[in-house]
């Protein structure tokens, strides 16, 4: 797949560390899929589709590549390839719970939008450390999605983690499925809660991605190719996967603890 080039139409400052880039193009993608964003001469990195039309990307400034992305202005160009990966499955569900931590909220925005079009009712739980870290709150309120915010310090919404909030929500209401994207340890804890409540769940994983097409093996999580078999996996598939919630590999393939 060759790169496409698009102009940046709008940049939204979500918080000090996260920006949303709206491009003047659209793609055909499923929620949970990602594009490889390319800055020639710098690098090319996976970023989830936060909205497909217009293509919208929500990016956290974490290192060399994302900080260069943050230097871009409206009317600058960005190249990308994609979409890649499998995406979330939305079959035979009616009432669903979305649980996002950090920029993991971004693909869930696209999922919420898609669910509403299919007459599925989403409830969103967003986790953040503190009030100023909360992102895309307006995007969800525009969609009129019931949203619960959980902050570690209680400065906004309920005090606690998004897993605590999800547990409470599942105790009050019956959900057909839970969808999550965020820090892996959080998702591992969430999968455990879902299993206890007998609710199926799908989790979007991150590993160091190179080829994006399931060939180089760099993104492996045990025998799973996160770039192509994933990034979304049913929690049942992850059961017994030793690396899940524990180990990830860097660019050389050497493992480190999560």
């Amino acid at each position: 797949m060759l790169p496409r080039r698009a102009k940046i139409k709008e940049i939204i400052n979500d918080n000090g560390r996260v920006k949303t880039f709206v491009l003047d193009c659209s793609i055909i993608a499923k929620p949970g899929q990602y594009v490889m964003v390319w800055l020639p001469g710098i690098d090319e990195k996976p970023i989830s589709v936060s909205r497909a039309d217009p293509l919208t990307l929500t990016v956290a400034n974490r290192g060399p590549f994302t900080s260069r992305l943050f230097d871009l202005k409206v009317n600058d160009f960005m190249s990308f390839r994609g979409p890649f990966g499998n995406g979330f499955a939305l079959r035979t569900v009616k009432n669903i719970l979305l649980v996002g931590g950090g920029y993991g909220v971004a693909p869930l925005r696209f999922l919420a939008e898609t669910a509403l079009q299919k007459n599925i009712r989403p409830t969103m739980i967003m986790g953040a450390k503190t009030a100023s870290d909360v992102i895309l709150e307006e995007a969800f309120s525009e969609l009129k999605v019931k949203t619960i915010i959980a902050t570690d310090d209680g400065s906004k919404g309920v005090k606690g983690t998004c897993v605590d909030a999800a547990r409470e929500a599942m105790e009050k209401e019956k959900f057909n499925a839970v969808y999550s994207c965020g820090p892996e340890k959080m998702m591992a804890a969430l999968a455990h809660e879902c299993a206890k409540h007998g609710v199926r769940c799908q989790l979007s994983l991150e590993r160091y991605i190179k080829c994006g097409i399931g060939v180089c093996g760099q993104c492996c999580c045990d025998g799973l190719r996160v770039c192509h078999d994933g990034p979304v996996f049913d929690a049942r598939v992850l059961k017994g996967v030793e690396d899940f919630g524990r180990l990830a590999r860097g660019p050389s393939g050497a493992s480190h603890a999560l």
Binding site: M1, L2, P3, R4, R5, M36, W38, P40, G41, I42, D43, E44, K45, F77, S79, R81, K210, C211, G212, I213, G214, V215, C216, G217, Q218, C220, D222, G223, R225, R249, G250, P251, S252, G253, A254, S255
Partner: protein, 307 residues
């Protein structure tokens, strides 16, 4: 009907071999490929020290094939030995360990270290188009120089008793001479070939080469006729078995390689084109071909194109 084959004393249930650098990064992936029907699996090439490889973009489908400049990323031999031990223990098929180094001594050192994991065969990657040798050796690709290939082969043979295959580069007019040199130096098999080129793909929107390394090795369907010719040439001069590699996507391609003289068939890029189940599918397609042509074993049609 029998599709089994033997490479340097190693028995394979079918001739498909996962090529080096495709899905060979973890023991679990190697085992998954084995489960998907591969006759043998090759691990990602490893070196003495860890390497991050090139920045992205490192790989793309340009339309008629793939191009890659992963840059031989690997966690280094110490980590690799752990993965290999696990793979050798549970994959159920022969595991080939691919190694490379910056000098003949380093090749021998890495080969000796991976041999601890008891792979069925050690493959010497003297031919990656993305990375050149030590500047002391002129910074060129080892596989372009018959003397260097012989030196590396000899150095490794002196250190390990595991059978070795030397993986050659197709990008030299002296391929026959180099294959001969590897055999004379004691290679137990030849893998022909590595990826082609290097090539370049330019993004016409930005005017920039897409791969961060600018150039990369070309593989997949586009290179098959070139690879078949390389295998044909190598098989015309060596006695040792050849793992015919390059652009094999279906059973018919595998049959072509065997008719050119190959004993086993490397499969890499086809994982992209047909999924991981491609190994079992190629195996089945070879059987269908043999059945419809009245062949009982691979030997019945091996190297018939050489006649």
């Amino acid at each position: 009907m029998d599709v089994s084959t033997t490479i340097a004393g190693v028995s394979l249930r079918n001739p498909t071999v996962l090529a080096a650098g495709i899905l060979g990064t973890s023991a679990d992936l190697l085992c998954r490929v084995a489960k998907c029907g591969a006759g043998a699996v090759t691990s990602k090439s490893c070196s003495l020290e860890a390497r991050d490889g090139h920045p992205n973009p490192t790989m793309l489908d340009w339309g008629e094939g793939l191009i890659n400049a992963i840059g031989l990323s690997n966690p280094g031999v110490e980590e690799e030995v752990k993965e290999l031990k696990k793979a050798v223990g549970k994959s159920g098929v022969p595991v080939f360990a691919s190694v490379f180094g910056k000098s003949p001594e380093e090749f021998a050192e890495v080969a000796a270290r991976v041999a601890e994991a008891k792979p069925a065969l050690v493959e010497l990657n003297v031919s990656c188009p993305n990375v050149s040798s030590d500047s002391r050796l002129g910074g060129k690709i080892f596989a372009f120089d018959a003397k260097l290939v012989a030196k590396i082969t000899d150095a490794v043979k002196n250190r390990v008793s595991t059978p070795i295959s030397v993986k050659l580069s197709p990008n030299t007019p002296d391929l026959k001479e180099i294959a001969q040199a590897a055999e004379d130096a004691g290679a137990d098999a030849i893998t022909a070939c590595n990826s082609f080129g290097p090539g370049m793909v330019i993004d016409v929107e930005t005017g920039k080469p897409i791969l961060s390394n600018r150039v990369g090795g070309v593989s997949g369907p586009a290179v098959k006729p070139l690879a078949v010719k390389c295998v044909y040439d190598v098989c015309s001069v060596v006695e040792v078995p050849v793992i015919g590699t390059g652009g094999v996507t279906n059973g018919r391609d595998a049959v072509e390689m065997i008719m050119a003289g190959a004993t086993a068939v490397g499969v890499g890029s086809a994982v992209y084109y047909r999924g991981i189940s491609v190994f079992a599918r190629i195996d089945a397609e070879i059987k269908v071909f043999m059945d419809s042509h009245g062949y009982e074993s691979l030997a019945d049609f091996r190297a018939i194109a050489q006649q």
